[in-house]
Symmetry: C2
Subunit: 321 residues, 2 copies
């Protein structure tokens, strides 16, 4: 059973509401995410960053709905190795919660062989929640910021780099700067909370998702929910700075990182507004990368040629199948 099949079964059994980044219940939006050692992070990531990320991924789900986070609960399965320094985890979680204006009101602790963090975050229902299902043919497709950095950072972390250790010998300055910012993007993602709230107030924004699985897979999520297709122009996708030059020298395939890299937590959304108009209304840049089409499927236009863009982003089960 693939992740998609499992989610389909869960929707069927429990609630057709399941399927957006978070669930709307009355006056609230609620989301839950579990991070597991050796699946979502490794021990090489400092505990404070694991804490920040475990909160950030939940807040990103709320952002994708246009919801402002209000409170959260957290459950921890604490592995032996993490116990001694767990205070650094709690402090970082507290600071992140304060920074995002979220109160952590309760929780559960247990021991575990591997560190597991499960956070549930609850936000206010916006006047008009953003769903995956509102995209209409002809509308522009937007990403909120340059992408590809998280996958690049993950690649480095899986190939001997560490966040706070020394770099490989004879690493040049530009490469080092790139590597550090890519690892940071991966390990310390920033949820687009303010943008999500702003987008929900603009009537011409019709759908939204956060790029957690990867652009290709999340674009398919919007198209599937909206009964539509998409054409993405490869050249218009904003790339994480220096991904081609420094990333390439480090063995990172920029194209894969941009198209399929997960855990970006940029927002992917659709609107009838033009890029300049939308950016002006938001007071910050957003990037039009293509159009919603009537014809189903996602097409990538590159060098004047269109090819199907398969959902090759993160599937939580794929590498075990």
């Amino acid at each position: 059973m693939s992740e998609a099949a499992l989610i389909a079964r869960i929707r069927e059994l429990f609630s057709p509401r399941i399927g957006d980044d978070a669930a709307i219940v009355g006056a609230q939006v609620i989301t839950t995410d579990m991070l597991i050692e050796d699946v979502d992070f490794t021990r090489s990531i400092p505990l404070p960053l694991i804490a920040r990320k475990s909160l950030a991924v939940n807040l990103s789900d709320l952002a994708a709905m246009g919801s402002k986070p209000v409170y959260a609960v957290a459950a921890f399965g604490i592995a032996e190795w993490a116990r001694g320094a767990f205070d650094s985890f709690l402090l970082a979680l507290r600071d992140a919660a304060n920074a995002y204006g979220v109160e952590i009101v309760g929780g559960d602790i247990s021991r575990a062989d591997k560190l597991v963090i499960s956070i549930t975050a609850i936000g206010e229902t916006p006047a008009r929640p953003l769903l995956r299902s509102g995209a209409r043919p002809g509308e522009r497709i937007y990403v909120s910021r340059p992408i590809g950095g998280s996958a690049a950072g993950l690649h480095l972390l899986q190939n001997g780099w560490t966040i706070d250790g020394p770099p490989p010998p004879q690493t040049g300055y530009a490469t080092l700067e790139f590597a550090r910012s890519a690892m940071r993007r991966h390990a310390d993602p920033e949820p687009e909370i303010a943008l999500g709230v702003a987008l929900s107030s603009i009537a011409e924004v019709t759908s939204c998702i956060d790029i957690s699985d990867g652009l290709s897979t999340d674009m398919h999520h919007i198209c599937d929910a909206s009964n539509a297709g998409a054409e993405i122009e490869r050249e218009r996708i904003p790339m994480f700075p220096d991904l081609i030059a420094s990333g390439g020298a480090l063995g990172i395939r920029a194209q894969d990182a941009v198209l399929h890299g997960g855990e970006e937590y940029a927002l992917l959304f659709t609107s009838s507004l033009r890029e300049s108009d939308l950016s002006a209304r938001l007071g910050r840049p957003v990037y039009a990368i293509g159009r919603i089409t009537e014809r189903r499927g996602v097409v990538l236009l590159q060098d004047g040629v269109g090819k199907p863009l398969e959902p090759r982003g993160w599937d939580h089960f794929a590498h075990r199948e």
Copy 2:
């Protein structure tokens, strides 16, 4: 750091609200619990029972606050061994949610080496939430049903018995009946939802907790929160049926099971009302087992002698220290 020290630190960092079975936030009560393979259950427990229990322990926390459950979200870290039969897990979870009147509105799935289930349940705030902190000297201490069965069932499951396999050869009928009901009590606990809601409507009920850590530890929780002590009469604690005879023959120490056995999910509460009056108002039996005292500490009265009852119930970290 013991569990108690960790919880104290979490309260200090995050919110003084933390400490009851669930947190009150505006018009809601919220609780979260994580169940981890080989900590909270083993693979010998059928997946449908793991599903039911993972929901039940959360609903029990709401019950202890007097809150009626409304909705929940669930996150699963799915281990390889559980994937093939995960549909049986989902079906059981759906059925349990329907039976308890809870809608599961969202979730998260991931792979994991060990099965992890984290559920967050949200209930309506009762007119008067039940806290741990309201017990006053002179009031009676109550348990909602006979206890000791869960610890007995756990002992059996840790000593070769299985829920659906054949019993050891030459097991007598009474022993078999006892063993089955004890294992069921452990693996398929029943949250006291209706009782919790009823208790919250009775002004003379002053504090409440669910017995998840064990009577001794949870009695200390009430006393600590209420700045009071307790005297419990050993002979008045209602015991799980046949615990002494059949349980004893199976190597179960009835006294330990009753006093310190966790995961009972009976309610432990206090009231100025007499047992007969309170039972009559509730329309069901509840069991007075002692009195709240001004003097701090918990005392167990047995055969006319009082001895300190130390909190020897479940500490999620104790057996690693």
